[in-house]
Amino acid sequence: MEQRLLSGGCPLWLIHRPGPEILSAKLWLRGGSSADPAGQRGAAQLLAGVLSRGCGPLSGDALADLVEGRGAGLRCEASEDGTLLSLKCASEDARLLLPLLLQMVSSPWLVEDQISLERQLNLQTLQRQKEDPFQVAHDQLRHQLYGDGAYGHDPLGVEAELEQIGQDQLHQLARRLGQQGAVMVLAGRIPEGVDTLLLEGVEQHRWPTTEPPRQAGPAGLKHASLKSSRDDTEQLVMMLGTTTSPLGSEQALALRLLHCHLGIGMSSRLFIALREEHGLAYDVGVHYPARLGDAPFVFHLSSSSDRAREACQELLNEWLRLLETPLSDEQLSLALAKFRGQEALGRQTGSQIADRHALVLGHGLPFDFADRSLREAAALTPADLHKAAQALLLKPSLSLCGPASAIAAAEAVWSSHPLNR
């Protein structure tokens, strides 16, 4: 591993690994959909989509010809906390393609015609997502957990606001790209001289940025609520969740182990309790993404309408169990084994490795954060995990999507359950 600093201030990490002649590159920029300006929800994703539609000397078509002509993959996407540019290519093409990442963020074309197309595609995707009851329940819960706060909307945006975002707004946003910090990570077979190429800048242009600082991200709401959406489906989708704490915060590691205990693998607590012991669901799990701010911690499952009452009861019971009963030593050992296993399984490809390091560094955490976490996790006790659950998981909210009768059954369970008192 080597560390460099690009002339404009962007840290560059090179992770050399043996294996096939493939290179993965990630450029992570702080400021995703949570930084969408007021009245412009969806702007970060729209900008991300337009970045690959022309930059530097290349039109959108020329850029696509270059990338696709080399059989490479290039993606730009905004998430809640950042915008990620990903390139995967044959190592022999790295010299040709890598500079594109810097050109896209430093000199995007932002042509009105291309903005219009990208905006139309995003609006259509938002509309189509409503077909999926999981998406409906998820969107609903997001609003319950974050209101109109920075994490309160889909990175794709809010239709009425997205429709109004134009070239001027994107130019303003593009000028600020990287101002809150950025980091580039390369992993795989890195050809000699590629770092020099990047260090020299693109056409003598320095893209000014800094190492992403460690700072607090957006907060979540801390009160419980119930929301339901009626839909003519076979199943009722249930999501039970709350907002917790940022990646790297004091009790986040304890929550990560609880996540492993509850939702990782077929020996996980929720899988056994809901699926194996009761046959209530096919898909059941926990959603706990890494976030700069208060991350959501969510149980999710879908169950047939006629079993909604039982499924809701069991789901709420499992959450209550977390608050009332510490894990046994055996359960903690298994959770630790899964945590270690997840780390190993997440390092199989150069793309996975670059992705994970870009995320950690983008959060202002040290390069060896994952290894440190592995060591620190081994020292945690069942009492530590229980304390974290009691501190962070006290007041979950419930989001439902499905037929009216199933919603009524689940709402009745919710209103009388001890978790809701």
Binding site: A64, E234, Q235, E276, G279, D283, S302
Partner: protein
């Protein structure tokens, strides 16, 4: 058994393949192949229900399985030090399932939930209907998850019979990829249930597919955008060179902004939110499936433009530059898929299962052998609009 040494990989993949997909189901057996895949994880003669998952995950690994039309596979990813123990567990689990009646009834509920979850996705309903109408009574037209009523009727005995006749020595393959140094599995395999398997008594391969061109329009509740779905048939997986050619053709047509369909329908005319063309490699006959997502009122124009793009390709062969671009994309996609042990084990496992023995370089050589003339002569004509089944799904 096939194994491939990947000395630098951090984990080993053990991948057990069997010619026991849904197309081997007989009368009244709808959904049985997939249901069996679920039941396998409910324990064996030596392992209690859930014990396999617990032990594999305690070793820092994970496991999963997938049932297709032609085959089923069960795969485990573990740290190298845990490979020998995991192999014993995997073979025991897959080859000697317990099929306990109480577990059977519980797991049936889980499969029915999986079916209900799938039926709540209107896009999946539309695709299922496309296959049903275009493949008619062929197994590829029937749902892998099974029909609800048939699932209610299955019993542990009928499942045991399916397992007994399908999981045979000449229909199975164990594939291993990862750092194999210091892994001694030969003796273990000789003592395992795998070595005790007998060949099938009557092994008929999958029935050839004959896709029926036609068209259908359906209204679907909860659909938010219209879909144009089309299906074509290409030769089966055994014709490996044609499979690669099919990959090239679908890439040339719909992979990336500069591909013909994407450029015309999404970028220029802005008629669709997305347009995809996928090659599904199947033994009885590969299926090329097109999906365009658009507004309902745009459907006629979308259909017309798809037709125009396909006819233009038939009238005038693609340029060499287009072919080179497609070769790069397909070749790199193949190389990228082999970066992780799971991808390697799946590729060599599936090939070996179906008697296609070749080294990892061979597909790249076949790729290079394609020319625009050959593509036009052998393949483009098979993607004619007249040969397709076309389904329009619109919001109810």
């Amino acid at each position: 058994m096939v194994q491939l040494d990947l000395p630098d990989a951090p984990v080993i993949c053990l991948d057990f393949w069997c010619q026991a997909g849904s197309c081997y189901e007989g009368e009244g057996e709808s959904g049985l192949a997939h249901f069996l895949e679920h039941m396998v994880f409910k324990g064996s003669k030596q392992l209690d229900a859930g014990e396999f998952d617990l032990r594999i995950e305690a070793l820092g690994g994970n496991s999963n399985a997938a049932t297709g039309f032609d085959d089923v596979h069960y795969h485990v990813l573990v740290p190298p030090a845990a490979a020998e123990e995991s192999l014993g567990l995997l073979l025991d689990l897959v080859l000697q399932p317990r099929l306990d009646p109480t577990d059977f009834d519980m797991e049936r509920q889980v499969v029915l939930e999986e079916l209900a979850q799938s039926e709540d996705q209107p896009e999946e309903v539309a695709f299922q209907q496309l296959l049903r109408l275009s493949c008619l009574d062929h197994a590829y037209g029937q749902p892998i998850l099974g029909e609800r009523q048939a699932l209610q009727n299955h019993s542990p005995a009928s499942m045991a019979a399916f397992h007994q006749r399908s999981y045979r020595s000449d229909r199975c393959c164990l594939s291993i990829a990862g750092p194999l140094k210091d892994i001694g599995i030969r003796d273990q395999l000789e003592q395992s249930a795998l070595a005790q398997l007998h060949p099938a008594e009557d092994h008929a391969g999958p029935r050839p597919l004959k896709l029926h061109p036609g068209e259908h329009r359906m209204e679907l509740p909860r659909l938010e955008a219209a879909r144009l779905l089309m299906a074509w048939q290409l030769p089966g997986a055994a014709d490996q060179q044609t499979v690669i050619g099919g990959d090239l053709l679908t890439t040339l047509l719909a992979e990336g902004r500069r591909s013909r369909l994407v450029e015309r329908l999404r970028e220029q005319l802005r008629l669709v939110e997305s347009i995809d063309l996928d090659l599904n490699v199947l033994e009885s006959g590969c299926l090329v499936l097109l999906e365009a997502v658009c507004e309902e009122e745009q459907l006629p124009e979308v259909r017309q433009e798809v037709r125009a793009v396909l006819e233009q390709l038939q009238d005038q062969e693609p340029s060499n530059a287009e072919l080179e671009r497609a070769k790069r994309l397909v070749g790199n996609g193949y190389r990228f898929s082999l970066e992780a042990p799971g991808g390697v084990a799946a590729m060599v496992g599936n090939s070996t299962l179906w008697g296609r023995h070749h080294n990892l370089q061979a597909p790249l050589d076949w790729l290079e052998a394609w020319t625009v003339e050959r593509l036009s002569k052998d393949l483009i004509c098979q993607l004619s609009p007249e040969l397709a089944f076309c389904l329009e799904a619109v919001p109810a």
